[in-house]
Amino acid sequence: MGALLSFGAVVVLLLIPAIGAGALKLHSLFGVVIPYLAVIVFLVGLINRVIGWGKVPVPFKIPTTCGQQKSLPWIKHSRLESPATGGEVFLRMVLEVLFFRSLFRNLRTEKAPGDRVVYGSSKWLWVAGLAFHYSFLIVFLRHLRFFKQPTPKIIGIIESFDGFLQIGSPHLLVTGLVLFGAVFYLFLRRIFVPQVRYISLPADYFPLFLIMAIAGTGMLMRYFLRVDIIKVKELTMGLATFHPKVPEGISVIFYIHLFLVSTLFAYFPFSKMVHLGGVFLSPTRNLANNTRMVHHPNPWNYPVKVHTYEEYEEEFRDKMIAAGIPVEKQPEPREEEQPTEESEGKE
């Protein structure tokens, strides 16, 4: 149901530019206005989210660990699983961000005979996750050839590795296929693994369909329905230099691709995909497990107006004695006390 809803939404998103740029020829709207708006929403939205997270106090350290905390010198400390210093936390973050280390621990849950629950290793999510994110990154970087003139050498080098199969013309770029394949796997996983299907919402399916549609229209454009790349670059360079131009004669498939990408950008800060920024701010990953060495003050602790027992007794001692309640400090007899105090003062 959630999958169908999201699929329908992406079909509508395909139809909007097909009608708007195709039939109604609103090329400046779909080629300039919407992409600029999308980038602004993306940047402002993402920064806003991150600053919002930064304002949330972390009441105590939440260092989820699966390793030995640093303690006595003869107990072996697990530096990466239970980092105690900033440097060790940094290493853990590097492994998390670049290699998705916590996804590596993903488990399969199954029922064994006798209604026992057993857990098994399951690395496919990790493999597909890595394949998806890295091919997305490479596809994204390769697109820089539309936004830089002359294009940096490194982009050409990446593209030549990516096209090493030298199949066809324009030659096949492997990461485009891997991107589509990996997202498709992630989608199948949601459909076929019952536990995952149960917790999947439209907001989980929608990004998958959207990215499939982006990669799909991209490959369609490259290998089948060709567009005039020189004019595309004229348009994109116009965007990058803030001198927007809309050359005539770019076919509608380009505007469809661009509109889907704009949707992705604009939707990004409000979706699960903000984990792009969120991963750096996850307290379970970025806090050192040094609770035995450093006191972590709860930022919620505000100056509380306290009334200690001593003060309380001081205030009510007479009444307490009158009521027969035991007091810690006996009242000193006044007649005796005053002279001594005065005599002390005089000395």
Partner: protein, 135 residues
Amino acid sequence: MYDGGKIIAGIIIFLAFALFPFYSNIGKADIKPPKPSLDTPVIKALKVKKCVEPEQYMRESHMQLLIKWRDSALRHAKRVYVNSNGEEYVISLQKTCLRCHSNRSEFCDRCHKYADVDPYCWDCHFSKAKQEEQR
């Protein structure tokens, strides 16, 4: 904000990446798309200046046409191409395309540099100028 320094630093690094296409292109608004030159003896001598197929198709899909030509010549041994107007052309990258477009560096390469494509065809297929240079 908690850990404000680190968060602001992170945001600045993010913006440095995200805005790269914009700030690195400041002052480059005068970049013009390439004008492939048709100034060759063979094209000048043509009565009707037209390509194998209509111009828009050539701009968009010449690479697909070339690969179709290669397959036709080398896999199906058919070395004559009949275009959408029923005119016949000998299938050859060097003897047909590059006979008219003998100015490869002012024609093919101009576009390809702009679009950052580097067809590996030239590893084997030479233009006339290159052939003479190699002699």
